[in-house]
């Protein structure tokens, strides 16, 4: 994601644009790190719909089928 699109999502609480950063995600005893948009101050993350229903759903299913 480029800097321009990154700056279009605002953390309302901290009043700062989200920035790309490392976020940990856990599922079924597995922990992953992904570069996602997050608030540089409070850590609030943004998962867009296409990621939740796309890549994340695929990984969830893969882990569940293991």
């Amino acid at each position: 994601m480029n800097n321009e699109s990154r700056s279009r999502v605002l953390c309302v609480k901290c009043q700062v644009p989200l920035e790309e950063g490392k976020v940990s995600i856990a599922y079924l005893s597995n922990t992953f790190y992904a570069d996602l948009l997050r608030c540089p101050l409070c850590g609030q993350v943004f998962i867009p719909e296409e990621l939740a229903l796309g890549r994340m759903a695929e990984v969830e299913k893969t882990l569940e089928d293991k």
């Binding site: 605002l10 940990s24 599922y27 409070c42 993350v45 998962i47 990984v59």
Partner: protein
Amino acid sequence: MPEEVFLTYNYLSAGLSGGVGLGLGCCGAPADWAGRQESFSGQIAQFKDKWEGMGRPIVITACSSCYQILQMNLPELPLESLWGILEEIGLPPAAAGGEARRVAVHDPCRSRHQSHVHEQIRRILANLEVEIEELPLNRQETTCCGYGGLMSLINSEVAAEVADQRIASSKEPFLVYCSNCRDHFAARGKETWHILDLIWGNNNLNDARRKGPNHSLRRENRRHLKNKFLAEVWRENVIEESGYRTVKLVMEPPLGELLEERYILAEDVQQVIYEAESSGRKLQNLDNGHYTAHMQLGIMTYWVEYLPEGDFFRVFNAYSHRMQLIEDVNRDE
């Protein structure tokens, strides 16, 4: 229909001696079908505790799945089918075949080993002068409507095909005695009465054509039914709506259908918005001004895109995932 449960309970209370209680909970069948034995055992234990607490009364079930689950897991429980009890005390005056002149009886799959129930249903129909068409696969050989074993939740395409195959076995409207069978067939466009519809005079073809409630409305119906019993029968205080339940949503019908497909309840959306508005933890898309907030409920994390609109919140989208975000940084600030 919730109203039919209310009428039936009051009718049993008037017709049976010794008082009648009501269980609006779950027998645990969905947990059993999902292979969640721990959850299932907990539900059975809870049911047993309540039954013992009430002085070990006779348990009356309308649902063949409840009957089967309780019979197998709590053999000490004296069980009766509602249909047998209604035969004993007599049908209410409202009971009539109406436009259900000839029906094809679909026995629910869980009734296979309940031959006395098969007979009870057929005798009630005969009593109402409703002509019966026996399906090629019936009674102990009956087939599933597509809901059993949570098929429709796990693989809705297969479940729809199972329903359609069953529907194709007769041109007559169906008569069922399982609410899941009724709603599953009705969702595929088959005219289907539940036997309680005929017992309470809801016997027009329009009654057979009505669609079942979606997931959110189903929960809402349960809540309303419980409140109705509390207020009108047991004269107890109805708990006032508070917290997230006060969040009023507005959304376009296609979005409602999308949430249904995604198994997202209106109350999930309400909880996300309530939490976001209470804590201020939300994001804003600077292109369209919409807020986006998320919240983990159980294993699910729900995301909702919305905007306040007067006293309401207009919802533009909602989605979910099961992976858990570890956002422990300054969470409570």
